[in-house]
Amino acid sequence: MASAAQVPQAALSRLVVLRLLVVQTAVLAPHLPRLPPWAAALVAMILVWRTAATLRSWPMLAGWMRVLLTLGAFVGIYASFGRVSGQTAGVALITVMAALKLTELKSRRDLMVMVFLLYFLLVTHFLFSQALWTAAYLLAAATLITALLIDANHPGAALPLRVVAAMAGGLVLRAVPLMALIFVLFPRIPGPIWGLPADAGAARSGLSDSMAPGAISELVGSDAVAFRVRFDAAVPPPAARYWRGPSFLRFDGRSWDSGSRAGAIDAPAAELRGTGYGYELTLEPTRTPWLFALDLPARQGLPDDALINADYQLVLARGEVRERRRYRLQSYPHYRLQPSLPGALRTLATALPGASNPRAQALARQWRAAAVSDAAIVDRALRMFREQPFHYTLSPPLLGRDPVDAFLFETRRGFCEHYASSFAVLMRAAGIPARVVTGYQGGERNAIGDYWIVRQSDAHAWTEVWLAGRGWARVDPTAAVAPERIERGIGSAIDSTELPDFLNPALRNGYRFDLRARWDWLNARWNQWVLGYGPELQDDFLRRFGIGEWREMILVMTALLTLMLSAFGLLLLRRSTPRQRDDAPTRAWRRLQRRLARAGLPQRAPEGAADYAARIAAARPDLASTITAAAQRYIAARYVDSDDSRDLRALKAAIARVRP
């Protein structure tokens, strides 16, 4: 038989090298956009070169060229990233090295090393994304790499692709239940163990710690989820759904930032009134210390590692949000925040760079002169926004040196940051303490899972003014210009030609929207149950089965693993055992043999059925007729080509009649 050909242990076959190139391309490709352009080009070039070299039998690169390339790659990575460790630089380095390995790969050993490297590269993808689709990618890539590993272990001619793929697919498929078992039961510890590099995690877009004109409108194009919220019972009305983020107190004439707040770290006093809303918020990583909360969160029941800062913003006590995290809060839409304003804060909150935006300052002073109270000035400003032709737009014209003046008196077209910024400037010029608050406003309900999604496109900026007797009061000038922004979200407030598709109200109906809701629901479940499966969730989940501490987890895991593997081993062993070759007549005849053997008349090894029957007929005349008939039936059923089922029935009947 051809399959029995002896295989020599030569170098890798060309076919295996080509398969390696395909798999390697599949594993490296997602990293290419993350590499500096020169490195991506180098990797692509090596892949192409090796393919051509394999097809045309070109020689491998000389040793000195490889050394040169390797050193060059090191220097290049260092030049591009300023280091060779850390997440992005480290991954870039491994990716380039995996490609460079191709310039020398020729033996089975090289291929084994490469396969291990590919497994490792596969895991690095998940540092950048762990979205639901990566699960499919994981299984597909693991199958491909495992197929390659099988190829590496079949020296000589490559096995047919069908065989290798089926075997690798079978292995991966059978390993999935094992994976699930270990995933659930392997004791999780709170990370990190040795600390994360500064650039760990995926790149994030989101609110920043300063606000210049255009900062928020940039975010509107992103449908990335900022956080998801599930309310315990009642849902606050849209006008109360302000999710508080960083506040900005210092204005430099153009942009806002938090400024220095020496000494002011304690949370100001706040009186919360009315009934609160309880909710659970699942925040996507922000790489900032900010935890968003509905205005205003109660101080009781905050997460252990969180605190409320001097701006009444909820933040982490230390560190940044690098992983998705869930927390519960209670918020009260009716409150009185910091009823008595410290003098130092009043100074900060009314400071303006003297020479900037002179027309706005003049206007505010004019209002002050005419007004009876601070509240009247606030109303006057809002009336201006409402009554004059201000326009809410995503693409405002560029503003000059005094952006507030230019916006208020010339262009009058702007996004929420323009309104918040100019309003705060007007208030300060009129002597009213004011600050800009950024965060998110609104949210979209997902009917599938009954929760609310707040996206980056819901990013918003508003102002707070300090009024005697009321403390910091929220004033949203955007609401004066475009009330529908607050009531129904940005999609309703902006001209649809400016909107990205996902916000366009015309496209928000029908199955696509429904599909999107389902997809988000699935993602939320994925985030919550799979990606969020850490020490706490594991503890909660396993306690339901009475598994409390890590020793028990290991014990149960080992026991179940052993059980699954044994079951699998038995199945496999059954496939390896020689096939049952006896046909039905033989099995029937065997039964007769056993019956006669018990009667002391075993069939001897060299004896055929006819001889056996003759011998028994001679030894036991009482059986002569039945055994002879049975033997004839057996011979007919077994050796004569005829109607099988009828012969078999006749044989069985004949055998039944033999009663020793």
Binding site: I182, P192, L573
Partner: protein, 320 residues
């Protein structure tokens, strides 16, 4: 320490490996399995990935690590199953002259529904192995070479049947002891020492023994002649009408057949030297087409020719 352990393990395995003549079914209880170098490397890789996953609290990294762990554990069963229930049988071994390698043909039968890949066979302690694939319900034959040094029976050494397929992470192996041996003829001496020239028989045993059967000529067949006395080769060449079958006649040794005689060699020679010289003479005599007989102490092969005769004579030397 590892070496001592390994030796200990091998000794233990040896006690579990009886020597059988027939086909040897690789029983699962006699298949041993340990991780390979790559297997340990794989373990180290998984450990690194696990630590990374813990550090980054990255669920997908955990998932991949555990998937690979599952694949690794399954690979152990796959590798084990790739070897179990194959059967190995030895074929007939062609005799060789001492110093030449003996070729042991080994037949690997796969009676199961599962194809087996990359089954490696080698002698115990031999560095190189031969690899073979055996399709489901199929068989394959490979030859293992064993150098021969001394004449006589060369028993097959213990055979290591092993596999690392499919992932190369585990090495499953078993020992097979097949009761088969190669006959090793004495190494023929260097040519040069002249063979005795004619058939004479002064005082030599067998020379004047009655009924000694040296081929003397042909005569026509007569009823009652033994069939094996017919010269079939000649008959095949001739047309039936050219005459009746000829029968080989045997009688007294006559001039032209050689007697290769132990006693004619210098008495100073050692046994091995003599056997070696006799082997040379047999090879030369067979090559020249002459009929030859062999005389050893306590054993005489009457003159004859052909492969069977040559083998009988050389075997007599080999087992002397």
């Amino acid at each position: 320490m590892i070496r001592a352990l390994r030796r200990h393990l091998q000794d233990w395995i040896a006690t579990r490996t009886p020597r059988v003549p027939g086909p040897w079914l690789i029983d699962r209880r006699r298949v041993y399995i340990v991780p390979t170098r790559y297997g340990y490397g794989y373990g180290l890789l998984l450990l690194t990935m696990l630590l990374g996953a813990m550090n980054y609290s990255n669920s997908m990294a955990f998932a991949l690590t555990f998937l690979l762990a599952g694949i690794g554990l399954l690979a152990m069963h796959y590798t084990h199953g790739n070897l179990v229930n194959l059967s190995v049988a030895a074929g007939a071994v062609t005799p060789v002259f001492a110093g030449d390698p003996a070729h042991f043909p080994l037949r690997i039968v796969n009676d199961s529904a599962r194809p087996r890949y990359a089954i490696a066979m080698r002698w115990q302690h031999a560095p190189a192995h031969t690899l073979v694939d055996v399709a489901a319900g199929d068989a394959a034959t490979i030859e293992l070479l064993q150098p021969s040094q001394r004449r006589g029976w060369l028993p097959a050494r213990r055979i290591a049947v092993s596999t690392e397929f499919p992932l190369g992470l585990f090495h499953a192996w078993t020992w097979v002891e097949l009761d088969v041996a190669a006959l090793v003829y004495p190494q023929p001496a260097a040519p040069g020492f002249a063979a005795p020239s004619g058939g004479r028989g002064d005082g030599q045993p067998g020379a004047d023994r009655p009924g000694s059967e040296e081929f003397v000529g042909l005569r026509s067949y007569q009823a009652g002649d033994p069939l094996r006395a017919i010269d079939w080769k000649r008959m095949a060449r001739l047309h039936p009408l050219q005459g009746p079958p000829q029968v080989k006649q045997f009688g007294e040794a006559r001039a032209g057949s050689l007697w290769l005689d132990w006693h004619s060699l210098p008495t100073a020679w050692s046994t091995e030297q003599r056997l070696s010289q006799l082997a040379r003479w047999i090879v030369d005599a067979e090559a020249s087409g002459r009929s030859y007989g062999l005389r050893l102490p306590r054993l005489v092969r009457e003159p004859g020719r052909g492969d069977g005769h040559r083998h009988a004579c050389l075997a007599a030397l080999a087992l002397f």
